[in-house]
């Protein structure tokens, strides 16, 4: 396959307004959508705003929507499209637009701050931590997250309902709660913090209706719904909706 000329529609504009602009641009073998956006910058639109860093799917900067689907531009190969196809690239549509393909992702940083951090165990110093691989596997999967925020973008809870943003942390940060709750040495409970209850009460876990779009878009292939959100829901049930567990914990507390 040699090079050909592709048709692109790229959203250009800012908070005041904007629209899809048509481009014709050269495409070569092995290229990804981000290469094409860079070619537009270098040859036709030098001020086309776009975020990117590593160009290898490791930093999660170049998130956008390509033909209506949230994706990383650096990991979307041009070969998945036919040469005849018009490819539409827009900014993430769940967040306020800044300019062109750049959006204000501040929502995510706000939510990150609302999740209480890892609580180190009081009785262990640096170098004394002992954890088994099988005990860290689950949290390690969630720590693969590159914070591209595609899951936050696609999640209809906030994408379609701006008013839910204050109450809902989004898949990425509910997964962070799950990660900490499954961390074998997290001592949150000793400090009076119940992460399971907080997931439901503080971070809006109940808004999630497990329709799995977060899992579908995750470029790291993290099973967000099955391994983080649903187990977290089950843990919240332990705390809030299970009389047997509640009774059991009462009895055990009396014993010890």
């Amino acid at each position: 396959m040699s090079s050909y000329e592709a048709r692109f529609k790229v959203w250009r504009g800012d908070a005041e307004g904007g629209g899809l602009e048509d481009f014709k641009v050269e495409v070569n073998e092995g290229e990804v959508v981000l290469d094409i956006i860079h070619r537009l910058q270098a040859t036709q639109a030098p001020d086309l705003a776009v975020r990117w860093n590593c160009k290898a799917g490791k930093c999660g900067s170049c998130s956008a929507e390509i033909n209506g689907r949230p994706r990383l531009m650096c990991m979307t190969r041009m070969s998945v499209f036919t040469p005849e196809e018009t490819i539409t690239v827009t900014p993430l549509r769940a967040f306020p637009v800044v300019r062109d393909l750049v959006t204000d992702v501040g929502f995510n940083y706000t939510k990150a701050r609302e999740v209480p951090s890892f609580v180190p165990p009081a009785d262990l110093g640096p170098g004394e931590y002992r954890m088994q691989q099988e005990d860290v596997d689950r949290s390690q999967e969630f720590r693969k997250c590159i914070e591209c925020f595609l899951c936050q973008d696609t999640c209809h809870v906030v994408r379609d309902h701006e008013e839910n943003k204050p109450a809902f942390a989004g898949p990425r940060f509910l997964m962070r709660v799950a990660e900490l709750d499954m961390h074998p040495l997290d001592a949150a409970a000793d400090s009076g913090l119940d992460r399971k209850r907080a997931a439901q009460d503080e971070h809006g876990l109940g808004y999630c209706n497990i329709t799995k779009c977060c899992t579908e878009v995750c470029p790291e292939g993290i099973k967000i719904t099955d391994n983080a959100l649903i187990p977290l829901k089950e843990r919240a049930v332990d705390r809030k909706y299970d009389p047997l567990v509640w009774l059991g914990s009462k009895i055990r507390r009396r014993e010890t």
Partner: protein
């Protein structure tokens, strides 16, 4: 150019004022509607069929086979099944189909199942219809309020589903009799029941609540090696929960339909031995 320069509608979603001005509610070019449409059609077909059969109150027993919709059968009006799963618990006042008494449990199990929730939220309620396709509702509170907050009782339906699956296993054992209740026989119906019970168990065990109960709730797998193994095993099945949900749904309907065919005389159960 400029397909989206007109003022936004402040609908609270992708067309909120602060977001990129794009008129089209979504820009997906693939056949995103196919999956929710197929899901809805499949579920609807089952609902229609099972409603008819549940209320029919006939043709649910053809010795030695009892329809899974009517097992256990707990009213006086039940057909007599020799050593079968019937017990007159509700007495004579129960005037409608006895299937209704028991179906509430598998129905509740499937209704609150994490996979089926996704399926019907997407397929029927369009919440959302597909990823990055806007949902038509003005407000959304998810599973935070009544009635959807009741989804949290899934694990109780799971416990009930275990009992139901146990009874269906018993029925499958009874299917190794012939129509005169003599043991050591096997017909095509026995095979249908066997396939069905394997799928029912697989679906039940692969449940997310089950995965949580057997080991998922633990903080330290290393201190519970047996439960860790069970958790891994259930996890493997759980990855196929959707597949098992559909195949077991089809198999249970087929098992019932097979009994209907035999009981109504439309088809004679071929015997292998």
């Amino acid at each position: 150019m400029a397909t989206g320069t007109e003022p936004h509608l402040n609908s609270g979603g992708v067309r909120s004022a602060s977001r990129a001005a794009i008129t089209a509610p979504h820009l997906r070019t693939d056949r995103w509607w196919l999956a929710p449409a197929a899901t809805a059609a499949g579920l609807l077909a089952f609902v229609v069929y099972s409603t008819w059969r549940a209320f029919a109150d006939t043709n649910y027993y053809a010795a030695p086979y009892v329809s899974p919709f009517y097992s256990p059968c707990l009213a006086e009006r039940c057909e007599t099944m020799h050593a079968g799963p019937n017990a007159d618990v509700f007495g004579s006042w129960w005037a409608i189909s006895p299937a209704i008494i028991i179906l509430i449990f598998p129905l509740g199990f499937r209704l609150t199942c994490y996979y089926y929730r996704k399926a019907y939220y997407r397929g029927f309620w369009a919440s959302p219809p597909a990823c990055a396709v806007p949902e038509p509702h003005k407000k959304y509170t998810g599973e935070t309020r009544f009635p959807l907050i009741l989804q949290n009782i899934h694990r109780y339906f799971f416990y009930a589903a275990i009992i139901v699956a146990g009874i269906l296993t018993y029925d499958t054992v009874l299917a190794f009799r012939d129509e005169h209740y003599n043991w050591g026989h096997m017909g095509l119906g026995t095979v249908v029941f066997l396939v069905n019970i394997v799928l029912i168990w697989s679906y039940t065990i692969s449940c997310h609540s089950c995965r949580h109960i057997v080991g998922g709730k633990l903080k330290h797998f290393s201190k519970h090696p047996v439960r860790y193994r069970m958790w891994q095993w259930v996890g493997k099945l759980n990855a196929r929960h959707m597949l098992l949900a559909w195949t077991s749904l089809v198999s249970v309907a087929l098992a019932d339909f097979y009994v209907y065919l035999v009981a109504s005389g439309a088809f004679a159960d071929p015997r292998f031995f």
